[in-house]
Amino acid sequence: MSDMEETEGAEGAGVPAAPHRVIGTPPPSPRLLGSAPVAQEGSETALALVSDEEEFQEHIDGLPPDDPQVTVHGKRAERVVVACFLLTFIAGCGFVAAYVGLGVHTVDKTLRSNLALGLSMSVMFLALGLGALIWVRHLMPNVEVTQQRHDLRSDEKQRQATEAYFKEGTANSQFVKRPLVRRTLMLGTLPLLAAPVVLLRDLGPQPGTSLRHTVWSPGRRLLVQGTNQPITPAQFSAPGSMITIVPDGYEDDQDALTKAAVILIKFRPGELHIPTRHQGSTLVGTMNWTVDNIVAYSKICTHVGCPVALYEQTTHHILCPCHQSTFEATTGATVIFGPAARPLPQLPLTTDAQGYLVSKSDFTEPVGPSFWERG
């Protein structure tokens, strides 16, 4: 491409000092020595048979095509273009070869195949594009066209004629004259418009009260997520730890877990101070919902439902990684920062006859994001 730069340099020297080119305007023609645009005469070719001249004026920048400089330049550019297209061909063959020759089915092989296919594909496209670009910029004469715009607005006569015709048509249709026809037509089509909406009804069940309940029920065992084993207070004795709990019988039920996932946190004696608070109109004290300083909160954030998965032992903060709602674990998961507006609901805990942790009941308030009917 050095030949082109040379030409550009020569051009720069030839043109009297000019202010900087405005960014975005096309650079001076790179290959041909600058000369003022020459308006060309109409030709004897087929185009001259009909006249577009009123609409199009062509200008051609640069030297005539038979100028020696242009001829030399053209030959060089042609070689570059041909090289690009040959490279495209080679890369294309490489792509096919890589497809046929390189298998997948393991991570390493897949990555090797991806590299070979991707690289050959990139070269194929880039070389093709480069060839085309050099072709148009260095082999085609620099034709510039000025086209006249037509009025977008129709002239007044046309508008009036259209309006007049429309009026006549409307009159012929009797649409204005016979209001009863018009109105019953509208009435008749109203249910038709509602039909698509009606048809969508069976997309899903009505929410009903399903958002208010989870699968937790009196005596349902808490299973440790992952192992799916029940747990006794003695097994969960290290203060400051937090684990995720799933309800017995629903370990893999995604719909159930979306509402019923629970975090279990163990405190040192005396750390936990859950104040009584209003749930609706009833005052609820929940200190006795804990067992051995173990408390269970809903894992579903009250903001938009992400799992609150981060727990900071030293500060007792539960953090939602999605939008950073932060809950104070020692005071009943009250919100201390972020967009969540309500504490994480607490699950009443007790132990069963075998000493395993079980739920005393379902959550006493809806878990997860707010919704209109929540109250």
């Binding site: 062509e58 148009v136 085609m140 004469p141 998965a309």
Partner: protein, 570 residues
Amino acid sequence: MSRPAVNSDTDFDVSKPLKGTAGWLDDRFGGARGVRTYLLRKVYPDHWSFLLGEIALYSFIILLLTGTFLSFFFVPSTTEVVYHGSYLKLDGIRMSEAYQSTLRISFDVRGGLLIRQIHHWAADLFVAALMIHMLRVFFTGAFRKPREVNWLIGIVLFSLALIEGLFGYSLPDDQLSGAGLRIFEGVLQGIPIVGTYLAYFLFGGPFPGHDIVPRMYIIHVLLVPGILLALIGAHIFIMFWQKHTQMPAKGNTERNVTGQPSYPYFVAKTSAWFMFIFGALALLATFAQINPIWLYGPYTPVAISSASQPDFYMGILEGSLRAMPAWEWNFLGHTVTFSVLIPFALPLGIVLGGAAFWPFFERWATGDKAYHHINDRPRNAPVRTGIGVAAITFYGVLWAEGANDVIADKLQIPLYTVTWIARVLTILGPIIAYVITKRVCLGLQRKDRNELLHGYESGIIRQLPDGEFIEVHQPVNEERLAVLEAKKVPALLPAPGSEDDNGVPAPSARGMLGKARAVANRAFAETIPVETDGHGNGHHGNGHEVTGEEHEAVGAPGSTALPPGESGEE
């Protein structure tokens, strides 16, 4: 015309099959003239910013091609299976068929990983190109009459692209996108009155259910792309019909359009551009891993990874959710959760709604009802440019807040401090950006005026006989002059509260709306005036005065705005 001078070698025959086919078609449709004037000779102005829309168009075509390939292998189902495939780390894991088939595309289909990654990169490029293209159109005023409809179509295209992207990256049912989908569902639930019904109808019951993946799939591969395709067709047809805008330059007028003809120039250039875009996306897909769903694992509602970020175009929603302080009302036994509703609707509503509204607002405030085919240089429309930069700032702050955890981690700033900075900047940033931008624009106008009146600084220092050194200023050339003189200033409407000799307020400045309009008009009309006679080496003006109020009705050269009082209906 002009062929002989350029090319005398037209003495070859058009190949028979081509000529025959063209003739056969013309016998039936008769489009010879239309093909010549609308397709072959259509004029394409040469400006780099005109390539931005093409990036969007070609990304979309690449999305269609690669998406079709992916749909041959993807299984849109949440039926649970146990994985025993090529990716051994997930062997024996329960997952949906959607996730399993995405793994299969990645590891068992030759070229599958490449095409998947090109598809994802192309989606990001598509949205990014739409954004930059829209900014170009906004800042140059290319949305003005007669192109308002195409601007509105563009906004719809952009909104649809966001939905298309969200549903697309949610399809593989991986942990990351599943969390995003859960957030989407949580937001839907928060909508007053109909929210829970919307969520239950879309998801076919409680989250996640088994309906959402097939439903998103058909929306993603048929419904939205169909609408996109139709609107893109309309967008391009309108562009053809109304012809391109052009930047101010010598010889460019409101009555013409200058550039290179479609055949062969634009066809060759734009094909090259398409190849470059495809090649660049292939390079990205080869070397820059994107959305490695096998690392995220299949979706489960009880798990989440920290530093979860959506694709970049969802960042503003994510950031808004993060920045919003807790705010919830209990309203007659119903819950209204502004914590969710405001971030969901307000920021994008302001940006996209504002963009849709803007052409009509500007027209109203300036009283400018003329056609505009020559674009503004952004500096010559300081209010518009200021508002645009303010919008970018507003969007940018909320977008960055979407990664507040990453920012806090990398810059070692406390997390809550980052959020507080974002909250403050969301309000203050746009105001500061507007003021600064407007001043910068006026400063650039002042520079233009000096260049116009005194010429440009030539860099030649000359010593005068008395010892004084001066820099020689040269008059600008014709090309530059055409650019500098392209400035148009909106006409001043009657001032707020202005009255005629009889004490009657001007009709257009009456009432609340009229007063607001007059105030807005004052802002739009603020400009650095240029004395029209004798540019180049004139000695007019003292060079330091400002603006609108003192310089009533500065009709700059070529102003097409109606004079005051003539702003009647069309």
